[in-house]
Amino acid sequence: MRKKGYRYFVIIVILFVGVHLVQVQIDYRKKLENLESALLLMPGQMAGSLVLGGFKGLAADLLWLQMETLWHSGQHYKILPLLEAIAWLQPSYILVWTIGGWHMAYNIYAAVKTEEEKQYWYDQGIKFLKKGISYPFNANKYDIYFELGWTYYHKGKDYPNAVKYFEKATKYPHPDYVDDVLAHAYEKNGEIEKAIKQWEFVRDNYTAFFDIATRMINDLKTKGKATP
């Protein structure tokens, strides 16, 4: 029996060595495929993590539902900590970054009175969106780049930055309208040649945009201005 016990012990140790080697491979894969938790555990947040265990997504959903309720009751400021919490729990959830950035740069911006406050919330929105793309798994998707570009373009009238982020958005799989908006941004930024080239690209690639792209090219060539 004792001999058999040693045999079991040896087999178990060998299996644990195997488990360790496989775990090394899994950790490597997690890094490679951006599957790591990406949760920064602060001392105060540890308790929450203990409770949540493997159910971070579910917790994020519950907070999202709470956010919806606050949203519809017009309690905009109360949404902010929830947005931060959802982003912390599930940073790969793109919608939380795009909606959060839009909420700060548009909704709270509209709710505050002074120019300083407006500027502050515009900056906060931009900052939140940039934080979103700082995560590697978000950096290879067009969504947040587009939202950033749009906030610069539409709210901030900051066309150089708008062009910069729209261009980044077009590097990743994206819907047709991203190319359309980029063409507008080129024009607003004074890059007429680039705007014409971009409209030509839109005209040749997206049939739904054919008429508008043709008109834009014509206006840019004749009047030097197309976007109202």
Partner: protein, 254 residues
């Protein structure tokens, strides 16, 4: 092999008579079905919530079934003294333990299939048929449940039911947190602490390896390579659990 199969089948039939597992299954189906209540959200948000709630329900209620199914598999036989009759027959103890595991696995599998079919039906109802990533997530959840069963069964060979249930739940929670613990310890410079943590990281089952659902629901892709390594991890750890179960059961005086 035939004896193992018979013991497994018997364990399965016996468990099917227990009401606890049915109650857990009904709860699971209610929770999965309730995820349809999020229809006030946008389509994208709703789909994410349905997947989140369903994956979590399948895993959590599946874990409950795995723990409760395995918990009484061996201890009931000892309590009722039916094991004496069994072991007087030409049945090896290893056949008995593996047969019990086999029976519990069948229960877990059937409940898992029922919950999965219900979930997939819900996705079809929402006109969003499941993609390959959904199946990868479900596959890993299933292997996690098998591992939980194996570990609970192993603990049942040398602990009381009460201690086993506490230990299994404790391992379930800790197993989901080891990755975070390691991330924290990686920042320490103390070699002893790091060494100990590395050891614990290997010894404690890392259930978080099987958790890809948080990534899948937000549209990230997980490769077959990752899934394959994680399944291998599950199989190796399951072998350890079963070897421990065999060792203690053979040592046990019955």
């Amino acid at each position: 092999m035939k004896k193992m199969w018979l013991i497994g089948l018997n364990t399965f039939r016996e468990s099917m008579r227990k009401k606890t597992l049915y109650i857990i299954l009904i709860f699971a189906l209610i929770v999965i079905g309730a995820s349809k209540l999020f229809s006030f959200l946008t389509a994208e948000e709703e789909l994410k919530m349905i997947k989140d709630v369903s994956f979590s329900a399948i895993e959590f209620f599946g874990a409950l079934m795995a723990i409760f199914g395995s918990l009484y598999a061996i201890s009931t036989e000892i309590e009722r003294r039916t094991i004496y009759t069994l072991l007087t027959k030409p049945i090896r103890r290893s056949d008995f333990v593996l047969g019990k595991f086999f029976g519990v696995s069948m229960i877990v599998l059937i409940n898992f299939i029922l919950m999965t079919v219900f979930f997939i039906g819900l996705l079809f109802f929402k006109k969003s048929p499941p993609d390959l990533q959904v199946f990868k997530t479900l596959l890993l959840i299933f292997f996690e449940l098998m591992l939980i069963s194996g570990i609970t069964l192993a603990l049942g060979t040398f602990t009381s039911d009460a201690f086993n249930i506490i230990c299994s739940f404790f391992l379930y929670i800790v197993g989901h947190l080891t990755s975070y613990g390691k991330e924290l310890v990686e920042r320490t410079e103390n070699i002893i602490v790091r060494g100990l943590t590395d050891m614990l990281y290997t010894l404690v089952p890392n259930y978080e390896n099987f958790n890809i659902r948080d990534k899948i629901v937000v549209g990230l892709n997980v490769s077959w390579g990752y899934v394959g390594w994680t399944i291998l991890y599950g199989i190796l750890y399951l072998c350890i659990a079963l070897y421990i179960a065999l060792y203690f059961f053979e040592k046990r005086e019955i």
